[in-house]
């Protein structure tokens, strides 16, 4: 069937709408925030800005980057995934328990398993229409309980380190492999989003779920996919944690939840959905990591460290959030 041919007056000249300097600047804000923070830390302790120190910082950030990147997809869809940290902890236990039997396949098995668990949460969310906050809050406690039970409430040692050794290597002698993996992940997911209709589906879902649905966008499937990727990322982050802790433990990653969500928001992704990107979360995760390790290392006393941390994350978001995209700030 052919589209109708219309005879209408010529429209006004269509001028190309290039992003303005201001718009370009806001998209670089997360990076600017990162640089400013690094500069401030260096001023506080000139010894901080060394190659080995930076290497350690990016190595440290890798699991957080991966967790935040996965959860960013859920946030872009307008939801939230509070289960990532608990799922990651559970995955460290799985890893330690499965490694003796599965050997080199464990990593894939873990990522597949956590992806499936993430998908399950996604299905529960779209099928029963339970808010993602609740589904994943429930998931969080359920995964913690399972981890506690199967690990017998204790760490499970990983004796055979061959399966994770590759993550502890350095590319070109300086760039930690774990961080390279995190980078590749962010790049790959971003690329897939950009090159396929997924990006517009995800944004549409996040900005206006009902409009997206009525436009025939596969809203439910997109959401389930986002939860799946988020889960899989939790699994990958777990492998990274195991590679540096040589054990799995039922609470290992639990404290990474708020930093991961903070990383997403500090990157300038709107917590209400639609606007944001994985790259922003990468920058956000680096900012959060620098705050977590940098402040105490440069000698800020513990009590002041917390006060500074609080002030800086708020300031960072004030800098990075593009308010032209998010009209109402809740």
């Amino acid at each position: 069937m052919s589209a109708p041919v219309l005879t209408t007056p010529a429209p006004d000249a269509v001028v190309p709408g290039r992003p303005t300097v201001g718009q370009r600047l806001t998209s670089f804000m997360p990076v600017i925030a990162l640089v400013v923070l690094l500069a401030a830390l260096t001023v506080a302790d000139p010894g901080f800005l060394t190659l080995s120190s930076l290497t350690a910082a990016v190595r440290t950030s890798a699991p957080l980057v991966v967790l935040a990147a996965g959860a960013t997809l859920v946030v872009l869809c307008g939801g939230i995934d509070l289960s990532i940290a608990a799922l990651c902890s559970l995955a460290t236990v799985f890893f330690a328990l499965w490694l003796p039997d599965l050997g080199g396949l464990t990593t894939f098995a873990i990522i597949a398993a956590t992806g499936a668990i993430g998908a399950l949460q996604g299905v529960a969310h779209v099928l029963f229409r339970i808010p993602s906050f609740i589904v994943t809050l429930g998931g969080m406690s359920i995964f913690s309980a399972i981890a506690l039970v199967i690990s017998d409430a204790g760490p499970v040692r990983v004796v055979d380190r061959d399966a994770t050794n590759w993550l502890t290597l350095y590319v070109g002698g300086v760039v930690p492999m774990a961080f390279v993996v995190a980078l590749v992940l962010v790049a790959a997911v971003s690329l897939v989003l950009r090159l396929t209709p997924l990006e517009s589906w995800i944004r549409a879902t996040g900005y206006s779920e009902s409009a997206a649905r009525l436009a025939g966008a596969p809203v439910d499937r997109v959401k389930i996919a986002a939860f799946t990727v988020s889960g899989a990322c939790a699994g990958l982050a777990a492998v990274m944690l195991v590679s540096r802790n040589f054990s799995g433990s039922p609470t290992m990653a639990d404290n990474l939840l708020l930093p991961a969500v903070a990383a997403i928001v500090v990157g300038g992704t709107a917590i209400t959905g639609g606007h944001g990107s994985l790259w922003r979360s990468l920058a956000g995760a680096l900012v959060v990591t620098l705050l977590r390790v940098g402040l105490p290392i440069v000698g800020v006393p513990s009590a002041y460290e917390q006060i500074l941390y609080g002030a800086i994350i708020v300031a960072a978001v004030a800098l990075t959030l593009d308010r032209s995209k998010v009209l109402i700030i809740k």
Binding site: M1, P16, S200, Y207, S210
Partner: protein
């Protein structure tokens, strides 16, 4: 104090200062001159109509008058005094109030609260609500317009029309606020009302004239001429003239709006070849039931436009949504081109070649912050993809072609759709179903809501051409006239049932009266 004599129509009468005067008002948006030096005079005790194409700058001008848009240049004078309006409160203090084009009530508050919102007066003492006073204040406003709704009902439990009444009741509170005759602005208040409600509204507008000035915007030019004393016309952000309503015809206005003569002919029925009534219908609906409708039968042939008419709550909207898989059904069968139509979700409907244009454009039709291009290609990925990959060039070419074909006024395909005028937004939403050229059944819920005359004719022509190319169309029209004009056949629904079927071939159209008889 200045008295601007040159704008007074009758130099013999010592004229009072105009209620409101706008001089060379300018407002730029990125890529658009929304207002390009507008001049406008609103006299005391008159109803001034404001006409203009979609995107001519009407809403922008009016928003500037209530302090919501800060102009880049020009002056606003109120009763001979130059003013700067910084906020809605500022404007209200000068006696200017507005009913917005998009409904603006707080859904989870009571009607009473919405009516007094922001100017509760004695309804709130020291931060404490006095519900009975509040209720009384609201009731007074509702009485003015003869509305019988419960002031303490939650606003989101009211019908659309009742909500519109609440908006009008709300703006009338301006009277209580100022000793001067107020200026009341109504931006397309009728686009969502039924004819009976429109009559009520007009009675109000005429009553308002006794003590106030009214600025009235509508795309229904006959309406504008009916209720207004004088009509000013905007084009491309400039004032292009004004006419006394008494000696103008819709066609005159239209000519001023677009700068040439246009046709305002709904009655395209019969332009193309009539579908073969004997052939098997493209869409066959049998015994369809859902929450708000029961046992609906409906046939639509390829190339046919079937209008469904009914009062609010007749359930026609839900029938449409059900056919698109957006509303659950409890019984019935739907067959499209001989195949059972999967009603389980919108995806399945899209895949089967069903398209749907929802009535609530802002919340359901478009994704505001996303670009025109992305909105247009959101559904039909094949139109911009090769395999699973998006081809930006392919998308750009396609989108630009449709921007041109439908004369969508947008600075760029990458512009966020929310910054377009309502009419242009609607065209983008319609285009969404056309880009792939594979729609077999199109469900149009108020597709011309808020469109200017020109845009509306374009949409009509488009619908007709789609029909001629074989698309089956179900139309929930904006007005009975539209339904009659566009449809080949009309189904009357009432209380969730399809009660009557009226043939409406070209040359044999029923009158609105015929239909109204069946609707109640």
């Amino acid at each position: 104090m200045t008295t601007n004599l040159q704008t007074q129509p009758d130099p013999r009468v010592p004229a009072p200062a105009p209620a409101l005067e706008v001089r060379s008002l300018v407002k730029h948006y990125p890529g658009v001159k929304a207002l390009d030096g507008v001049d406008l005079v609103v006299r005391q005790h008159e109803v001034l109509g404001l006409a203009g194409e979609n995107g001519a700058g009407k809403s922008t001008l009016l928003k500037a008058l209530v302090g919501l848009v800060r102009p880049d240049g020009g002056e606003i004078w109120v009763r001979g005094e130059k003013v700067r309006l910084r906020s809605v409160v500022d404007a209200a203090d000068h006696g200017i109030g507005m009913v917005f084009q998009e409904q603006s009530l707080v859904p989870n508050l009571t009607a009473a609260e919405n009516i007094v919102l922001g100017s509760e007066g004695p309804g709130v003492r020291r931060g404490i609500y006095r519900w009975s006073t509040m209720r009384r204040l609201a009731q007074e406003q509702l009485d003015k317009i003869g509305s019988h709704i419960d002031p303490l009902a939650r606003t989101d439990t009211l019908t659309f029309a009742d909500r519109q009444m609440v908006e009008i009741a709300k703006v009338l509170r301006i009277e209580e606020r100022t000793s001067h005759p107020p200026v009341i602005i109504l931006d397309e208040p009728t686009s969502v009302l039924e004819s009976k409600e429109i009559e009520t509204l007009f009675t109000q507008v005429r009553r308002l004239r006794e003590f106030a000035s009214v600025v009235f915007v509508s795309h229904r030019l006959d309406e504008v001429l009916d209720v207004c004393d004088r009509v000013a016309v905007l084009r491309g952000g400039r004032s292009v003239g004004e006419v006394p309503a008494a000696d103008a015809a819709p066609a005159d206005l239209h000519r001023m709006m677009i700068g040439s003569t246009g046709s305002d002919d709904h009655y395209h029925g019969g332009a193309g070849e009539r579908p073969d009534e004997a052939s098997r219908p493209r869409l066959v609906v049998r015994g369809l039931s859902g929450k708000s409708f029961r046992d609906v039968d409906l046939d639509v042939h390829a190339g046919e436009i079937v209008g469904i008419v009914g009062v609010h709550g007749s359930g026609r909207e839900d029938v449409c949504r059900a056919l698109f898989g957006a509303e659950p059904t409890t019984a019935g069968e739907v067959v499209l081109d001989g195949e059972k139509l999967d009603l389980s979700g919108t995806r399945a409907a899209c895949a089967a070649g069903v398209g749907y244009v929802p009535a609530e454009r802002k919340t359901e039709g478009m994704v505001g912050p996303m670009s025109v291009a992305d909105n247009m290609t959101l559904t039909k990925q094949q139109s911009r993809c090769t395999g699973p990959l998006v081809r930006p060039r392919k998308q750009a070419t396609l989108v630009d072609r449709w921007i041109e074909r439908l004369s969508i006024r947008t600075p760029h395909r990458g512009t966020a759709i929310q910054s377009l005028s309502g009419g242009n937004q609607q065209k983008v939403v319609l285009a969404r179903w056309l880009v792939a050229g594979d729609v077999r059944l199109l469900l149009l819920d108020h597709p011309t809501r808020g469109l200017d005359v020109g845009a509306r004719s374009e949409v009509y022509r488009l619908m007709r051409e789609l029909a001629d190319s074989g698309v089956a169309t179900v139309l929930l029209a904006d007005s009975l006239e539209e339904a009659i004009g566009m449809s080949d056949r009309i189904i009357v629904m009432s209380d969730g049932r399809a009660t009557t079927q009226v043939a409406a071939p070209a040359g044999g159209k029923p009158t609105p009266l015929d239909l109204v008889k069946e609707m109640v």
